[in-house]
C-alpha cells in the first residue's frame, strides 16, 4: 500500500474514532506530547493503560463475584479505571465508569455487574480500535512515512 494512502486512511480512522466518541481531546493532547525526544509516548501510555485496565477489570470482576461485595473497593477500582481512561482520552470507557460509580454509591450489585460488562465491552472496543490504529501507524512507519498531524477541525 502506498504511504500516502495509508496516511489518509490513518487520518480517516482517527477521525472516525473521535466522531464515534471513542476518543476525546485528551488523546490529542497525548499525541501532542509525543515528539522526537519521546517517539513512542502514545503507544507507551496506551500500553500502560491496557495493562492497568486488564488488571483492574480482573479485580473488578473478582470483587463483584464475592458473596458480599465491598463497594468501597469496587469504587476505588472504578475510580482508578476512570482516571486512567480519561487520561488517555478513552471517552466511552470513562463515561461507562461514571455510570458505574453511581451504582457503586447506590450499592447496587446488579447495576454494578451490568456496568462491569458495559465497561469491559467499551474497553475491548477501544482497545481493538487503538490496536488497529497503532498497527496502521506501524505500517506507515515501516513504509517509511510519518504519522500525519491530525487536523483539529472535527
Amino acid at each position: 500500500m502506498e504511504v500516502g494512502q495509508m496516511q489518509r486512511q490513518w487520518v480517516d480512522y482517527t477521525k472516525s474514532l473521535f466522531l464515534e466518541g471513542f476518543l476525546d481531546g485528551q488523546f490529542l493532547q497525548l499525541q501532542q506530547l509525543q515528539d522526537e525526544s519521546n517517539p513512542d509516548f502514545v503507544v507507551e501510555v496506551v500500553s500502560l493503560f491496557f495493562e492497568d485496565s486488564e488488571k483492574l477489570l480482573n479485580d473488578l470482576t473478582r470483587a463483584l463475584e464475592q458473596p458480599t461485595v465491598d463497594f468501597k473497593r469496587v469504587d476505588a477500582h472504578v475510580h482508578q479505571f476512570k482516571g486512567s481512561s480519561s487520561s488517555i482520552g478513552a471517552q466511552r470507557v470513562k463515561n461507562a465508569c461514571i455510570a458505574f460509580r453511581n451504582f457503586c454509591e447506590e450499592k447496587n450489585t446488579e447495576g454494578c455487574v451490568r456496568c462491569v460488562q458495559q465497561v469491559k465491552h467499551e474497553y475491548y472496543l477501544v482497545k481493538s480500535k487503538l490496536e488497529t490504529l497503532f498497527a496502521l501507524e506501524q505500517q506507515i512507519m515501516a513504509a517509511g512515512g510519518s504519522i500525519p498531524m491530525l487536523e483539529l477541525n472535527f
Binding site: 485528551q26 493532547q29 497525548l30 506530547l33 482516571g83 488517555i88
Partner: protein, 1008 residues
Amino acid sequence: MSKEETRRRIKEIGLVLMGGKTKMQRHHPVAVRLNEQIGAKKGYTFVQAHRAWFPKLFFLWVVVMLLLGWLTYSYMDADNKVRRVEVLGSMCDQRARMLQDQFSVSVNHVHALAILVSTFHYYKNPSAIDQETFAEYTARTAFERPLLSGVAYAQRVLDSDREKFENQHGWTIKTMGKEPSPNRDEYAPVIFSQETVSYIESLDMMSGEEDRENILRARATGKAVLTSPFRLLGSHHLGVVLTFPVYKSKLPPNPTVEQRIQAAVGYLGGAFDIESLVENLLGQLAGNQAIQVYVYDVTNTSDPLIMYGHQYQDGDTSLLHESKLDFGDPYRKHQMICRYHQRAPTSWTAINTAFLFCVIGFLVGYILYGAAMHIVKVEDDFREMEELKVRAEAADVAKSQFLATVSHEIRTPMNGILGMLALLLDTALSSTQMDYARTAQACGKALITLINEVLDRAKIDAGKLELEEVPFGIRSILDDVLSLFSEKSRNKGIELAVFVSDKVPDIFMGDPGRFRQIITNLVGNSIKFTERGHIFVKVHLAEPSKVMINGKSETYLNGGSDEGVLTSDGHQFKTLSGCEAANDWNSWDKFKHLVSDEEYRADVVEASEQVTLMVSVEDTGIGIPLAAQERVFMPFMQADSSTSRHYGGTGIGLSISKCLVELMGGQIKFVSLPRVGSTFSFTANFRRCKKNAFSDMKKPNPEDLPSSFRGLRAIVVDGKLVRAAVTKYHLKRLGILVEVASSIKMAVASCGRNGAAASGKSIQPDIVLVEKDSWISGEEHDLNVQKLDWKQNGHAFKLPKMILLATNNLSQAESDKVRAAGFADTVIMKPLRASMVAACLQEVLGIGKKRQPGRVVPNGSNVLQSLLCGKKILVVDDNLVNRRVAAGALKKFGANVECVDSGKAALALLQLPHNFDACFMDIQMPEMDGFEATRRIRQMESKANVETNGGFEALARRGDWHLPVLAMTADVIHATYDECLKCGMDGYVSKPFEEENLYQAVAKFFKT
C-alpha cells in the same frame, strides 16, 4: 488578545461553569420545599369547605327572618285584636247596661203610673182622674220616662158594658183603623192618654194584634210586657209597646191567672221609641263614632227582629259583640250587638317593627353572607396569588436553572471551540488561515465574555454572588490587567499606566477575581473609547475627607492659573500624556499632593482593620454624552445605540462593575466630558491581611519580583511628571532608587553634580531610563555628547545603561535611530509592569537568572517551556497511566520529572532538604490522599522553617521552605478547591492535563 488570556478565560469559564452546576443542584431542594408549602396551604379552611352552602344559608336566613318578622307582626297584631275585642265588649256591655237601666227606670215609672191609675181612678169614687189630670200629670212626669214617647190608659170594657161606656164618654169605641169597632167580647179603648199620643184616644187597643196579645199576656202575668218591635203609629221609628195591667181590687197574695184576668180593669201602655232612645243614649257616650250598635228582639231566635240599627252593613263584620238586654219581660228576649264602624286599623307599629326586624335581619344576614363571600373571595385570590407566586418562583428557579444550564451548555462547546482554536493557532497555518482562526477565536472569546457577563449579572440579581476572601496583591493584578491590554494600547498608541501609592498594602484580603473584573471592565471600556492620549489607573488609600479637602484647597490656590492652562490651546496639560482629562484629579498638581500627602502620613492608618482603596481610571477618550451619563450604570444601556455598533459590547459591564463595587462596600462614580475624556473612580473595602496570616503563603505572594535590583540607582528622564512618577513607582517596586529629571541635560547635570559633590562615593546612576517623547523632543543630537561628558567625568568606570521607554512599537527607522543614539541596550515597551521591567533589566544588566526575556507577552507552550524548563517536579499519582501522562506532559516542557505512586513515597522524597521545585499531587489516592500528604509536607516545612529561622538569621532566605503543591483532580469544583487551599496547596490543575490549564497553574509560581 493574547493566547494566555484565552487560556485563562477558558479556565475561568470552567470554574464558573462548575459554580453554575452546584447552583443548579442547590435549586432543586428549594423547588421541592416550595411545593411542600403549597401542599400544606391547600388544606381548605372552614369557610372554603362550605362555600357552596353560603347562598343557600343566606336564602334560608332571609326566609327565617321574614318568618320571624311575620310572627312578630302577628303577635303584635293579635295583641291589638284582643284589646280591640275587649274594648268592643266593654263598650257594648256598657251601652247595654245603660240602655237596660234606663229602660227599667222607665218601666218602673210606668208601673208607678199603673198603680196611680188603679188608686185614683178605681178606688176613689168618683174617680179622681180624668183625661185632663192624666195628660197634665204624665206630661209633667215625662222626664221620668225619657224612653217613652208617650203613655195611655185603656179601660177594659166588656161587650155587655159597651153601650153604657160609650154613652158615658160620648164616643164610640174605634179600632186601630179609626173606624167604629165591631162587636167583640171585650174592648180596651184608650180613655186617658198623654198629649204626645192623644191621637190614640178612644182607639180600641185590643183591635191591634200586637196590643191585644200584649194586653192578654200582661193581665195574665201581672207584669210589664213588651211587644215585638213595630213601626209606631204617627212616627216612622221602630218602637215597642209596654203594657201594664191595672187591677180593680187588691189581689190575693198569690193570685192565679184566672183571678188576675178577673181583676183586670184596664191597661197602661207606653210606646218606647227605641231608635231615638238608643240614639240619645249613645250620644251621651264617648267612642260613639267608633262603634255601631244594633238592638234586636230575639224572642224568635230564628228571625231576630231589629229594633235599632242601620241596615247598611259596611262596618267591620268580622268582629262583633253581643250583650244580653233584660227589659224586664221574661217572655221577650233582647240583645245588643256592637261592631266597629271601621275595620281594625292596620297596626303600623307592628308592621314597622316587623319590617325593621326583617330589614335588620336581612342586613345582618347580608353582612354575614357578604363577609363570608368576601372571605371566600379573598381566600380564592390568596390561593390564586399563592399559585402565581409559586409559579413565579418556579419560573425564577427555572430561569436560574435555565441560565445555568444554557450557559453550561454553551460554555462546554465554547471551551472546546476556544481550546481547539488555541491549539489550531499553535499549528502551522497560512497567514489567511491564521487570520480566520484568530477572528474565530476573538468572536468566541467575545461570546464567552458576554455569557459570563450575563451570568454574573443574573447571579448578582439573584443575590447569589459571593465575594471570596483570599489574600491577594493588588499590584500584580493591575500588572496582569495591564498586560491584558498592553497590545491594544500599543497598537493604538495610547499610554497605559498604573500607579499604586506606596501606602497601599502589598497584600490584603478580598476577591482578586472580582477586583480584576472591575478594573478590566473599566480599562477595557477606556481602551475601547480612547484613540489618543492616555489611560491611567491610579490606586491609593481613600481618606476622603483629607484628600478632598486638599484637592479643594489646591483648586482654589491654583484656580487662576488652571484656567489659563485649560483655555490655552497649545498648552500641555499636566496629565499623564499631556492630553486633557475630564478632571484634574490626576494632574500633577493633585498627584504630587497625593504622593507627598501619603508620605507625610506614613503610619496613620496602619492600625485600622479595613483598607479602603480609591481606584480611578482616567482616559482621554470620547467621553460620555451628557444625556447618557445618567444611565451609564444601567444594564444593557449604552451611551447610544450606535455605540454597540461602533465599539461592540453589551453595556452590561458597567452595571456589573457597579454591583461588584457595591458588594465590596464601595461606590463607583465618574466624571466625563464629551470629547475630553472620562474618569471613573471607585472605592472598595478590603480587610487588611494579618502579617502572620500570609506568612505561610509567602510564595504565592504576587509581589514575587526579583530582588537582584535592590540598591541600584536609576534616573528617569521624563518631562511629564505624572508619567515619571509612574515609572518611578515600577522601579521602586524593584527596589531601585529613582531620581527624576525632566530632560537628559538635567539628568547629566545632576549626575555630574552628584559626582562632583561627593566624588569619592561615585554615586552614579546604573540605569538611565529615557522617555521616548523627552528624547525625541529635540535633544537627540546632544545625547552622544552628553554620554561623552559622562565618560569624561572620570567616574564612569561603569557606564549607566541607557534604556528607552516607548509607548508603541518602533518602526525600523526609529529603532535604527535609537540604536544610533546610543540606546543599544534595550527598549522597554509600555505599558510598564514591574515584572516586565525586571525582565528587561535582567537582560540589560545581565544579572539574575538566565532567562529569555525577549517576549514580553507570554505565548502558549513557549512560555510553559520557559517556565518549566529545568524545573524538578514531583508527580504523585497512584494511577500509572495518569502518572505517565502527567510526566509526559511536563517533560515535554523540559521539566525534570520524577514520579511516585503514593503520598508516602512522596513524603519520603520530600524530606528536607530536597531539590524539587514543585509537586503535582493527585488528591484521591489510597492510604494517604493528596490533602493529607500536602498537610504533612507543610508540617515538615514549617518545622524546618522555624528551626532555621530561629537558629540562623543569616540563613533566613534559604529557610523559606515552601514547595508549591498543585492538586491534580478530575472534579474541579469550588469545594475541592477550597479544600485544596485549606490543606496548604497552592492551586490545582484539572486532570487530564491540558496545556492552558497547566500554564495557568504553573505561571503563578514560576514567574519570569
